[in-house]
Amino acid sequence: MAATVLWVYVGSVLWSVRISVSSSRTLPIGDYVGLRQYARLFDSERWTLSLQNMALFGVLFIVACLAIGFLLAVFIDQRVRGEGVLRTIFLYPYAMSFVATGLVWQWMLNPELGLQATVRGWGFPSFTFDWIARQDAVMYAIVVAAVWQACGLVMALMLAGLRGIDESLWMAARIDGIPPWRVYASIVLPMLGPSFGTAFVLLSVSVVKVFDVVVAMTQGGPGLASEVPAKFIIDNLLGRANIGLASAASTVLLLTVLALLAPWFYARAHASRRGERVARALRASETPGMAA
């Protein structure tokens, strides 16, 4: 039965790719036009813009989430009182839907009645925070909302990683005279490599799929300023009845995801193979006495 699911997945993907090399508009047409849809795609300003937005969003979102999530985890790990409460507070946004997140932040960043108006009301008449209404800054607003939602996840992952570090490592470092910040920098961070890797992959996949929060927060606006690939695809698929184009765009998106996943898969497979090799070598080399 897993095989059936597999067939559905593989089948739909293949079908999509097939449509992307046809001239289908509202309904699938069985002709073959080569890569014409792809050419149209990359000629489209809207598509190029959506890719740029996704890249910008991706970099800012991932860096901010990793940094803030890591910091929060480190700080919470310092045996603070109320650790449970703090963890609950930092992680609750992740339980909310992206739609709700987008809507809340849309409200909060509303220039007339939200943050900007409030701070101005406190006596700072020249305070501006109208990112959400500006074409050149709207993506930053979306980043803020998305980071608010997702850094709890990174924090949870990092905290799990930190808790996996043996206490005696800290004691050994203390005896070696290594100050705590140096322990974090030179020992803990490298050890958290896998956690960072996992977080990075999860976040990147969210970046590629980003849709809900944009639709809810800005509907892609103002104008087309916050257009993202996922939205481009849906609009062309359902709204503008341009399924050939949409399929081409989906295929590009898929390839991007695969390109992101492949190194991660390879790294994990490589690590497990290396682990097996090391274990075998160790068993062979275990000889009595001081011989290496």
Partner: protein
């Protein structure tokens, strides 16, 4: 360098783990802190290391009061049960990291690492990461980390507990040789009395936060200060028989190797064999002597079988006598000991 502890007290929350503890470790000796889980031996070791703070008392190392000094200023090195090697650094960096952080000149660091590496035969392993080392190799790296700090006192927190039996015996011998070569003061925590007996120049047996007895392995084995120490050392453990000497209640402590078994004749007290454990080189024979359960060691010859009746000869000259109430050792001859029937 010697280590001197006076009136040490350590409290963890509501628990008093150590109170009023005195200990003098002679320079160059191998002192083993031996005791069951929870007796405070690890706490004592961590207090000597400076990893936990003390509530009263003082710790002196080499004549210097280090009670409030940081671990790094105490000239100590420590080897943990899990070795605690930095997993993302290779062996060479593991050993040199602390020195680099302290800002030592490169040449000096290289010199120290080379010296330690030679002494511990780590040269072919310097580029490897801990995950690529065997348990014994990791232990040597952990010791090497302490060596490069030119530590005067080495602390060991149950370093062999994670290993399988065969490896444990190998590494025990290596440690003993290392102590001989280095001549450094070593304080070693374990619950394994075999490790204690083979490694120690002196053993401190601990229970419930107090040192019950401290002495050479031979002393502690042959003349235990109380019934706890007597029962903790030796396997199978000492036999205890209630009775009296000249009218005073006394408990006789007799080691299994000090009971000789003879064919049952009328002269010796008679016992019934309840179980025989063949150990290869010898046998452990479990006896029922008028209700007292005893273990005796006999040469392995397949002589004894369950149900046999044997004559029991006790070498009372080697026995210990304890007060049944206080469980302390009494200096009395056991010659006139009389069993109380059960």
């Amino acid at each position: 360098m010697n280590v001197s502890i006076k009136q040490l007290a350590v409290r963890m929350g509501a628990n008093t783990v150590l109170s009023d503890l005195d200990l003098d470790v002679v320079a160059g000796e191998f002192l083993v802190l031996l005791g069951p889980s929870g007796c405070g031996k690890s706490t004592l070791l961590h207090a000597i290391a400076g990893l936990i703070d003390t509530d009263a008392g003082s710790v002196h190392i080499g004549g210097r009061d280090v009670t409030w000094a940081d671990p790094k200023d105490r000239a100590i090195g420590m080897v943990f049960q899990s070795y605690a090697l930095y997993p993302t650094m290779n062996v060479e960096r593991n050993m040199s990291f602390g020195l680099r952080v302290a800002g030592l000149p490169k040449a000096e660091i290289a010199r120290r690492v080379e010296r330690a590496s030679k002494m511990l035969q780590l040269d072919p392993l310097l580029a490897r990461k801990p995950a690529q080392l065997s348990g014994g190799q990791r232990q040597r790296v952990a010791i090497g980390r302490a060596l490069v700090r030119e530590a005067q006192v080495f602390l060991f927190d149950e370093p062999l507990s994670n290993l399988d039996a065969k490896l444990r015996t190998e590494l025990r011998r290596e440690l003993k040789a290392l102590h001989r070569d280095l001549g450094a003061t070593m304080i070693y925590v374990t619950h394994d009395q075999v490790e204690a007996m083979t490694l120690a120049t002196r053993v401190a047996v601990m229970c419930a936060g107090r040192i019950q007895q401290i002495g050479t392995p031979g002393e502690v084995y042959a003349r235990p200060a109380n019934m706890f120490v007597a029962g903790f050392l030796g396997s199978p453990s000492m036999n205890f028989i209630e009775g009296e000497i000249d009218g005073t209640a006394a408990t006789l402590g007799l080691r299994p190797e000090h009971i000789a078994l003879h064919p049952a004749d009328g002269a010796l007290p008679a016992a019934q064999v309840t179980l025989v454990e063949a150990m290869g080189a010898h046998e452990v024979v479990w006896l029922d002597l008028e209700g007292h359960r005893l273990a005796a060691i006999a040469p392995a010859a397949g002589v004894h079988a369950i149900g046999d009746r044997v004559g029991v000869q006790m070498m009372l000259a080697r026995a210990s006598v304890f007060d049944p109430v206080s469980q302390e050792r009494i200096e009395r001859s056991a010659v006139s000991f009389r069993r109380r029937p059960r």
